[in-house]
């Protein structure tokens, strides 16, 4: 029995798979790869898979995290190849590491994002909104020529959806289609570098 932490990216249309559907999707990928996932105990046993904090659909994930409990372990680089061979387009596993100890969501304390409005003139509005919406939870923000990068603490409490909803409410955006979003990394906040260090 091995608990594996996996880093994965959700690019292209795979980013529209809902967060709640990911455990089932990962379970199927593992089964297709001919590997065995441990089942949970209890009333309705299902594959033992834990996800990191939720990401709304339509937001790219460059390096998100999940944990899968495997019945048997294969060499990690082989494992990644096997999983990627059976994954839908856009979804790709980037790294794997055997872990133990605290649960995934206890170890994650921050996440970094990129947002860019489709109308570039709205960049300043978006910057202001990022500061207003997240307040003290905003660890860092930088406005670049191609978008705004920002880091938030406590990702399970502070999601990107909050920001878009606020901008829609202020009528800066008509809907989600008015901006493009990606989650850059999930992990631990590094105070010295002012960056989110990916857990994996």
């Amino acid at each position: 029995m091995s608990r594996l932490r996996l880093a994965y990216e959700k690019r292209k249309f795979s980013c529209f798979v809902r967060h709640v559907e990911l455990p089932q999707l990962f379970g199927r990928i593992v089964r297709r790869a001919g590997l065995k996932v441990e089942l949970t105990q209890g009333m309705s046993p299902h594959p033992h898979i834990t996800m990191g904090s939720a990401l709304p659909v339509g937001i790219l994930a460059l390096r998100d995290l999940a944990e899968i409990w495997f019945e048997e372990l294969s060499p990690l680089d082989e494992l990644l190849v096997l999983l990627n061979e059976k994954s839908p387009d856009g979804l790709r596993f980037l790294a794997a590491q055997e872990v133990e100890g605290s649960s995934l969501n206890k170890v994650i304390d921050s996440a970094s994002y990129w947002i860019c409005p489709r109308q570039l003139e709205q960049m300043d509005f978006v910057s202001t909104s990022v500061k207003d919406v997240y307040g003290d939870s905003l660890l860092h923000m930088e406005q670049l020529h191609d978008g705004i990068e920002f880091a938030l603490s406590d990702p399970s409490q502070n999601g990107a959806g909050k920001l878009v909803r606020a901008l829609v409410e202020q009528e800066v955006f008509a809907g989600w289609s008015d901006c493009c979003l990606a989650r850059l990394a999930v992990g631990r906040w590094n105070e010295t570098d002012r960056t989110v260090t990916p857990l994996l």
């Binding site: 199927r28 659909v57 191609d146």
Partner: protein
């Protein structure tokens, strides 16, 4: 944009959609279209993605057609109303899932006629795909529009919009047709349709005229009529090699394996049971091999063994026992789509973990033995209560009953029967558990073509409402929960089910008036359809409410599904006499028409 995907012009439309996963399709097992193909086919399902992906027909035909030499198949689904509006605003054509190739750039579009309420969605897809709606408006550069599926047995209401109807099993009917179309790309449309009309199982409406008089509708053509349905005889030969697994939740999210096609029970209301004859079984060995093959390659956790009556499959219990080792090892759950109404089936279901979790569903269909005999649903009260007893005894808490109302010769006594059976079942349940419940679902009966009831007048909306309220008002038992279906959709369904070519004008007009997704109650509007009928001068009541004359020319006489009109008439007379016709698999052939064409259960009867 920093990330390329945001430059995809579809992205903003998808981001705003109510259910983006319908359009931002993420799947395992789709086939990348080749750079070059002699013929590009698009399988078009006239409903949203999650409904279309639950249809086994396209899961079977998609890899099958892609295996044909030089022929490539892709898929398209109907955009929901929010996406349709967004696409029109953005001037984006409807394209395929695999390559977003606009429908107009395919050589062939293949639609499936699953039910009458999907007809307007066909028009949406054609229109968004920049394909002229009417067959008569299409030119040499427009795709050839084919339609198959159960609705092709009563094709006239959409005859204006379809170039060629493919009658019967796609695995056997399509290869010849597609090869012909591939070989004739350089010919004119008229020449190609002429050639197609010569092939078995092809009905080309533009080459068949109809005229109407006091004796009904009559068909005439230079081509030979009737057009005959083609069947696949060898179920082992056509066993599927793969399935597509959507990443996003769909309605039927599992491996599906057919046990057999056809049905021998002879229920008189059932169009599928009549038009899918004769029975063709898949061997146990092939069923097992297919289950393994599909579960291994898809990773699905559940597998459903389907047919029109899975509990009738010879050796179904042996099959389940033989699968047990594999399914335990792989942790995959087997399920059956429906249960026969008897204790045997309940025993079977008990062994299937999945089926224990959900409620148990039984379909007695009618409340009195008399009424069940009329519809030839071979279920006795004894069978029913033994099944119910078995179910509650083995731990089920909830049982669901399906009934119909508005059946031919029905009286309030039969409605009382529905209540009595349900309440008695609840009483049995209460002996085992305080929480036992019986949920009853009652649907309005719609007479269908190619059945013994094709001559019947459909019960009117007003009368169906009255019967529904009667049931509600006379229900006494607290443990019985009864729902009946809103009858406005049934009325339109009834018109389209037995409509002739003149009804097509109303389908088009309804679509122009924004009729969409008519099977969905949130988008269906009876008033819109009534306005459409008024606008084109067609009386819907003449089609739904009217009893047909015995010798009336019916709008599907030119389509031969294999079961003869004489047989259907005999069955209608037996229905009126309340006489049952036993399952012909048991050894008594009733000469439905297939005995002349090699049905293996006919025992030489003619």
């Amino acid at each position: 944009m920093r990330f390329q995907e945001f430059d995809d012009p579809r992205w903003p439309l998808i981001a705003d959609a109510k259910f983006p996963a319908r359009y931002a399709v993420s799947e395992w097992g789709a086939i990348t279209p080749p750079e070059k193909a002699n013929l590009r086919v698009c399988l078009c399902f006239p409903d949203v993605y999650e409904v279309g992906m639950s249809y086994i027909g396209y899961q079977l035909l998609y890899p099958f057609i892609n295996e044909l030499d030089g022929i490539s198949a892709e898929r398209a689904y109907c955009p929901w109303i929010d996406m349709e509006a967004a696409m029109r605003r953005a001037n984006r054509p409807l394209g395929s899932v695999e390559s977003d190739r606009p429908l107009k750039d395919f050589d062939v579009l293949g639609f499936t006629l699953q039910h009458e309420m999907s007809f307007t969605n066909i028009l949406t897809m054609l229109n968004l795909g920049s394909v002229p709606l009417k067959s008569s408006q299409r030119g040499d550069n427009d795709p050839v529009v084919i339609a198959g599926g159960p609705g092709s047995m009563t094709p006239e209401p959409v005859a204006d919009f379809i170039d060629i109807f493919s009658l019967g099993d796609g695995e056997s009917q399509l290869p010849q047709l597609l090869k012909l179309l591939a070989d004739t790309v350089h010919l004119s449309r008229a020449e190609r349709l002429e050639a197609a009309a010569e092939l078995p199982g092809c009905y080309v409406p533009s080459l068949v005229d109809c005229y109407y008089d006091d004796e009904g509708v009559h068909f005439s053509s230079r081509k030979s009529l009737p057009c005959r349905r083609v069947i696949s005889s060898d179920m082992d030969d056509i066993a599927p090699q793969s399935m597509i697994v959507p990443a996003s939740g769909i309605v039927h999210d599992r491996v599906v394996v057919e046990l057999f096609r056809g049905c021998s029970r002879g229920c008189r209301f059932c169009q599928a049971g009549m038009t899918y004859r004769p029975i063709r079984e898949r061997s146990i060995e092939e069923v097992k091999a297919t289950v393994r093959r599909l579960v291994d390659s898809t990773g699905w956790e559940e597998c459903s063994l389907i047919s029109l009556a899975s509990c009738d499959y010879p050796g179904i219990d042996a099959l389940l026992a033989q699968l047990a080792g594999y399914t335990t090892e792989k942790n995959v759950k087997i399920s059956l789509p429906s249960l026969r109404v008897d204790a045997f089936s309940v025993d079977l279901a008990q062994g299937l973990e999945l089926m224990k979790k959900s409620g148990l569903t039984l379909a007695p269909e009618a409340g009195t033995q008399r009424m069940r005999d009329v519809i030839n649903k071979g279920v006795t009260e004894d069978d029913l209560f033994r099944a119910v007893e078995a179910a509650f005894e083995r731990g089920w808490q909830k049982i669901k009953f399906y009934f119909m109302m508005g059946l031919p010769t029905e009286t309030d006594e039969d409605l009382d029967g529905i209540l009595r059976l349900s309440e008695q079942a609840a009483e049995i349940g209460r002996r085992y558990s305080r929480r036992a419940a019986v949920n009853v679902s009652v649907a309005g009966f719609v007479p269908k073509g190619h059945t013994p009831f094709q001559w019947e007048a459909q019960t009117t909306r007003e009368e169906l409402s009255r019967r529904g309220l009667y049931l509600k008002r006379n229900l006494r038992h607290r443990a019985v929960n009864l729902k009946y279906h809103e009858s406005t959709q049934s009325f339109i369904e009834g018109v389209l089910a037995r409509g002739d070519r003149r009804v097509g004008a109303a389908v088009l007009r309804a679509w122009e008036l924004e009729a969409r997704f008519d099977s969905w109650s949130e988008t269906f509007s009876l008033d819109r359809w009534l306005e459409a009928f008024r606008d084109v001068g067609v009386d819907p009541h003449w089609y739904a409410d009217r009893e047909r004359l015995p010798h009336e020319g019916l709008p599907w006489d030119h389509i031969d599904c294999g079961v003869t009109r004489e047989f259907l008439w005999r069955e209608r007379l037996r229905a009126i006499d309340e006489r049952i016709t036993v399952d012909c698999r048991g050894g008594t052939c009733h000469a439905c028409g297939w005995q002349k064409r090699g049905c293996e259960w006919s025992g030489g009867a003619s």
